[in-house]
């Protein structure tokens, strides 16, 4: 049986807005296999980002369980969650979220440094080459284009060799051509380093790049499908 990197069970997240209770997630059962590239699609406010935050250990569920790499996140305290994030998860955000005071290289190795870990220079070099960032490694983020910044974010997400990469609308701030370039690189990197990826988008075309698409509506998973060519990818 294939290893499941992510497993949620009856996952619920409720917010209190005045007298109303908003059910951001309402009993989600969801799994991601090791090495799989899953796209979660849904409208704005459907709960897809909330699900990603739960998997990434940024937020805790109101009810239910989230297992990532065999760890029940509900049982981790704040400190353990922070360590979990830097060791197990790589994030890619819509607005890149790079630290402006650190150069490209420092941003990429930030999670490793925070963990006090050894920097695998050849590995980081490979990533820089693959993402065409070698010449920009000393540059500060504010001098880079949006596409370049998102490539740095991808590099940072991969650098610590996490169990899973979570990408939240990674092309939301990019034009179409750049979006395709960035996603192409993300897929190449994931393939080369056999990374599990969960990508959130509202764009059907982008979702087609994944092996599997999961649709979410009003806080519930309402369907899923394999995309074209997904079997061969999964087999690898």
């Amino acid at each position: 049986m294939e290893k499941q990197i992510v497993r949620t069970k009856n996952l619920k997240k409720y917010y209190q807005m005045g007298e109303n209770t908003v059910k951001a997630l309402d009993g989600v059962d969801f799994q991601v296999k090791d090495g799989e590239f899953v796209a979660i699609i849904g409208k704005s406010g459907s709960g897809k980002s909330t699900l990603l935050h739960m998997i990434g250990g940024l937020d805790l569920p109101t009810e239910g369980e989230v297992y990532v790499d065999e760890r029940n996140l509900a049982k981790l305290n704040k400190e353990q969650l922070a360590i979990f994030r830097r060791r197990t998860v790589g994030f890619i955000f819509q607005s890149y979220n790079l630290v402006q005071d650190l150069n490209v290289y420092e941003n990429i190795i930030l999670p490793i440094e925070l963990d006090g870990g050894h920097i695998d220079a050849p590995f980081i070099g490979d990533i820089l080459d693959l993402l065409q960032l070698q010449e920009k490694k000393d540059a500060l983020p504010n001098t880079l284009s949006g596409g370049q910044q998102q490539r740095v974010a991808i590099a940072r997400a991969i650098a610590s060799k996490p169990a899973i990469i979570l990408a939240d609308e990674p092309t939301g701030n990019l034009d179409t051509a750049t979006s395709h370039d960035v996603l192409g690189l993300l897929k190449t990197v994931a393939k080369q380093f056999e990374q599990t990826i969960v990508l959130i988008t509202h764009d059907q075309d982008i979702a087609q790049l994944a092996d599997r698409i999961v649709r979410i509506e009003d806080g519930r998973v309402v369907g899923g499908s394999l995309t074209e060519g997904s079997e061969s990818y999964a087999e690898k």
């Binding site: 935050h53 500060l140 940072r156």
Partner: protein
Amino acid sequence: MLKNNNDEMITRMAKRSFVRNKRKNLVLILAVFLSTFMVFSVFTVGVTYLNMLNRQNIRNNGAKFDAVLMGGYTQEQKKFCEEQENISVIGSEARAAYAERTDRDDTLNVAIRWSDDIYWNRMKSEAMEWVKGSYPQEENEIMVTKAALKDCGYENLGIGDELPLTYRNHMGEYTKTFTITGMWEGYGVQKAIYVSEDFYQQSGYRLEDTNSGILYLDFKSMLMTKAQQSNLEQKLDLGKQQRLFFNSDIEMSVPIFLGIIGLVFVTCFSAYLLIYNILQMSVTANVRYFGLLQTIGMTENQIRKMLKRQMSFVGAIGVISGTMVGCFTSFVLLPKIVKILGIKGDVQVTFQPIVFLMTLFVVILTLVFGSRRPAKYAASITPIEALGFRTTSNTKASHKTGHGNLLWRMAVEQLKKDKKKTVVVLLSLAASLSVFLCLVTLIESQGARTIISNYMDEDLVVVNDTTRKEDESDWLPILDEDFMKKLDRNSKIKETHPMTDTAIIVPWEADFSDMWMQEFYTTWMDHDYAQDIEEYKAHPDKFHSFMTGIDEQQFEYLNATLETPVDKQDFLNGDACIIYRNSLSFTADDVSGKEIHFSIMNQTSDLQTMKIAGMTDANYYVNMLGIAPTIIVSDQFVQKYVKNPIVFQTGIIYEEEYDETAEGEVKQYVEETTHAKDVSYDSKIESMKGVKKAQGNMMGVGIGIIAILTLIGIMNYINTVYGNMQSRQMEISIMESVGMSEKQVKEMLMKEGLLFTLGSFAITATVGLGITYACYQAVNYMDVAFAIPWEMVIIAVVVLVVICVEIPLITYQNSVKRHSIVERIRCMD
């Protein structure tokens, strides 16, 4: 072109913006308030202190002047003074006669003086409470006080009455009946009779005479440096008997003035930094708003005007409240503060419009300078710039990858990011720390200056006051053998050092005594030695002096201070003595090796001869001074030579320094004698208590000053940290999202705080210490070695570390941590 009347709209917008940014504006108002209060208080204390010092000097001196030339003066010296631009008033006074007796009293203590118009009307009048009648014009007219009349036994006389008086002047003794033309009361010498110029002209005295002419100088400027004072003294080319004295207010004018200016500068500088920092942050935070205002058509001028108006609200509230509280505090606390600074008597604080105007000027200037650049920046923002504005001031395109601890690197990077702001905060904190260092060092050094209250640093010196009487037969043996035995038996007392004093006669001889007398007359007397030499030869007892007997330890202490040490055995055996210089211009070489012959009173046949082995200026060894030389000899010699010598004082050293029980017991022994009231003390414990009290009071004033500056500095730091935290929310959230734990965030912030402390400490340790050293040396007249009070400094640094570290943590907890990481990330997207 007609001017648009948009003033009302701008005022309205300024008001709205003022209300909208309540928190920031409150901090600004507080900064202006504290600065106004501080500047007002410093100016008021300074001006009142100088005024009171001036008034105290006028009262003590009985006239208003800054310097006095005593010992007679020449017309050339007066002319020189008249030519000096800095000298505004020059007055003369002179001794005109000695009052001998009246038919009602034959022991008069009244001075008979003449003063010129300038001294009387412009200098002395300042110290008078009232004057009736007029200054004498005729030779037989006088001006008197009630006290003078009382001394003459004619206290009921008034203006127009006549006073018969016998007086002696340079020409001889006369008796005359004087008519009283005027009376006065006031400060200064009370038993004084003033006479006319005619009387003085006939007195035989000249203004050049040592015991007659006195020249009073009042300077235009309140400030005079030490160099200027010495320069004037040099140019006056003073004779041997002339002395130029400066009043304490002019003598200390420059250090006091620099102190006031320094405090005002540091206060304004701190306030400037705070105002500048808050406004700059406020403008940066509102870039989009200012861009929007320009988009809808507001001109640069109007934006500037709006900000200026906003600052005028801040200024008005801050200045008015600061002055009001300053006024209140000045009238309530100021008398205490001025007394602490050394003024005796009632302190009168008057509202000085100049102080108010100066405060207003200085604070408004600070406000204008502090807000000028931010206003200019706000006006220069274009709408396009505003749209794409991000709060980052890192203008670099790249940097090399750093090495070492990530958190330290990030903390350093944070300080480097906005260098200007970092410098502003560092300077502000360093200003408080530097003022603290300066004040604490100065106050602490006061202790070292005065705690060695007597020459040998003895715990207690017991003085037999009867030995201060002129007639030796009035001296009582209070510190006698019984008393000394009691001291020796007391186990709490380690050492006693009694000193004896005996009157001696030094007969004339051609070598040493003649040489001494010549120099003594040149320096101290108003007539020539030649006039008295025959009298001296015939009756040396009329020119007697004294001999002090000291023990072996006292000799060793004294010997260590001499240029050429004296042979101990010679001294103890009574073969050699040490001579007291008495301000004569002899050097040790002039007298060393010479012999002195002397005998004690009523024992002239037993003439002793001793070698003069050294000379000292230490007046600790001198009880009474005579005309002939005062000598210091060994107590062994005194015991052999003098029958029942009188102990004039004894120094006592306790087993334990500052032992109050031992001191109580010594005082008890004194009480047990029959002449306890004729004994006085010089106690190290009392000195220490006095110093501690003075230090405590000074410390109170110092802490007030430091507290205000520290508050301004900390407000600056809090604002910077708060502003930073607002603009770094995103950065911190990003780092948290990629795995930075709360502990690591806090550690990073703590490190930033430590860097601020380190930075401000570095500035204080260099610039602050330099200023402190300069201030210290400016007032270090006693040549006390410079020492930093480390305990206080370490406490201040620890407090600064706690503040600098805690404020970012508290701000993080209250601003960043108020929202969950998910909420913050949502805001970013």
